[in-house]
Symmetry: C3
Subunit: 135 residues, 3 copies
């Protein structure tokens, strides 16, 4: 069947075979991370109605993916926030301070008409840089 | 006039000079692909009212661009789906299985307020990895 | 505290410490640029009600960031336009011709439900390629 020219990164959780996307893929020194909502291991939204709590859950999921390649949120160079409401969006800045300890990545934030996951107030995608040889 | 520090990739179709963007550009081992709708060579939308058919047409257009650099959809590492309705969005997962044969790239999917192309239900942008020396 | 695995690029303007994102970051030969609106140095929108003027201001801000790494808009390989209305969007193509002199980058353009900056009609993010050794 051949192999893809990149490495799929799933972190420490099983990844359902029915999904037609990977949570993250590594190519060279870049890690692309899929748009992520604040779901937990049971696919339930954490922090219903609380955008800051949802953002924290998303960054925790990023950390698990990044840890699998020896990195942390400090390796993130780009985030894109897709939000469905503006209330409490400012509170997500404090969550960024919790996870980005050395500097801040670039950011884009836009208000969308909706997110696919019911109950999600925010979805974030990211790109990270992973120093060292690619696996 | 100088030359850009990247290679424009247009595939096997002529690209209208009036457009102020390129369908794809290569830099090093990355290929950036513009947001693409399901238009055909006559700029008509293929698969009106059918999101899965539109997605298939978009991936076919990606394949033509990727073939021009010796690659296929299996080289895609990131897709971003911008959709205007959620009906039948699940059907696009089956289209992904048609084109991604070895593994799945990352994905982000959001509902936008509108797309610029009349009749388009979905627009997809992508990034691919192209092994081997840059041209 | 450690250092991030990338270089923050702020151009020739002071960057407020309260912001939890960087205007641009460089990693290897790529420069990621944050989603940018047409604000001036006093955080006021330039070109109220005029999408082309706002686009011009955004590209001028890109030029300042790119100049800081010895580059120009001709180094941009990807733009993503998030717009809140379609009137006069075509006029932004002429602005692209002013700034992209040798070739055109890829582009994605979508209509969003809103932008965070009051008065902003368009927000653009970008990725550029910076030849030569990373700093």
């Amino acid at each position: 069947m051949g192999t893809p020219p990149y490495t799929v990164v799933t972190g420490d959780r099983p990844w359902p075979a029915r999904y037609t996307f990977s949570p993250a893929v590594r190519v060279g020194n870049l890690l692309f991370i899929s748009g992520t909502t604040a779901t937990d291991e049971n696919s339930q939204i954490v922090g219903r109605g609380d955008m800051a709590a949802q953002t924290r859950q998303i960054f925790r999921k990023f950390e698990r993916l990044l840890a699998a390649v020896g990195a942390s949120c400090d390796n993130i160079v780009q985030t894109v926030d897709y939000i469905v409401a503006t209330e409490n969006y400012r509170a997500t800045a404090d969550v960024r301070r919790e996870f980005f300890k050395h500097a801040f990545p670039t950011a884009t934030g836009v208000i969308v008409a909706g997110l696919l996951r019911e109950g999600a107030l925010i979805e974030i995608s990211a790109i990270a840089v992973i120093p060292g040889p690619s696996t």
